[in-house]
Subunit: 194 residues, 2 copies
């Protein structure tokens, strides 16, 4: 998505360790108009997929997920993060390791809001090592829900998350695909086709 | 807002301790179309207030805040919650006590995203004891930002948050005002004027 790539180039910052900071428009300060455009694009891509529900993880996934839900007219469920989880009968849970924070969290979704009748689109702000998406896969498996696709705002395709989704055989749509960082320059997969 | 009150009556559940559970459409599963309507109403109410930025707190405030931001065409900043905060120069922080969880959290906003030039609308899903709003007031004061109003999805007007906002002299707009619970029945302020 050209508009998103442009925004990454103008407002993103590359930090040491191949970290892209986009807290000016995506995951701390949020640009609602850009989120609407992102939601439109997810809706366009998955319009024919028969999605019944969108799943994401708090907090940064919520804005793009809700904008996609608005345009597909389906509910959005955001998984809650917990330090630890006391196993409660009415929750689906999974453990998620964060490479940036070097800690494990649990994520959970109430069983009320996901079932074997659902055809799910997973939405998140970033795909890097794919730990959050892996956690959502596990939760969908527990619910026996069908996973129709994964919609990512910004993907670092040189990290392991891309392969993790491919191995699962799930359709992956990333609106900005970063192939590499070169100092503070960001390279996109789309450059190859320009 | 009649549509919201109806939704609370059909999908909300009253739990012991005057807790209203609305995880089916507001703070776990989210109804994006209802959020859009809520955002429209905030935008209508504050259209002439010269808002430059919307502030909320992760995670449940994000969906209504982003929908209001979409329709006022202003950025939304969500404060992050932390267990503890190491005082960092580039953050505004405040301590927020949660009566439901009986723990204190810190909330923070990057100094980059709030300044004395801002005229701020605070948006949150609930107003009960007003601790989150109080934390956002403190953060706005640190930034010397002007607070133009508070927009709340569901207010329990019999708890102390209402007075806290009134004492500050800030305009408060709540889309559903609950006056009391009567067993599992919910009473709204609007009933008096029906």
């Amino acid at each position: 998505m050209r508009e998103l790539e442009q925004r990454i180039l103008t407002d993103g910052r590359v930090l040491p360790g191949e970290v892209l900071k986009v807290d000016g428009f995506l995951n701390h300060q949020v640009d609602p108009d850009l989120m609407f455009t992102i939601g439109s694009e997810f809706a366009r891509l998955f319009r024919e997929a028969g999605i019944t529900k969108i799943l994401t993880v708090e907090s940064s996934g919520i804005a793009p997920a809700v904008m996609a839900g608005l345009q597909l007219h389906v509910p959005v469920v955001f998984a809650r993060k917990h330090k630890s989880v006391t196993l409660i009968d009415d929750l689906y849970t999974a453990e998620v390791y964060s490479y940036t924070k070097k800690t494990s969290n649990h994520i959970s979704i109430s069983k009320k809001f996901l079932s074997a009748d659902d055809k799910v689109l997973l939405v998140d702000d970033f795909l890097a090592n794919g730990q959050a998406v892996q956690g959502l896969f596990e939760i969908c498996d527990q619910a026996q829900a069908e996973i129709a696709g994964v919609g990512i705002v910004i993907e670092k395709i040189f990290q392991s998350g891309h392969q993790l989704v491919a191995d699962r055989g799930v359709r992956l749509e990333s609106l900005a695909q970063i192939t590499s960082f070169d100092g503070d320059r960001v390279h996109f997969a789309s450059e190859a086709t320009d």
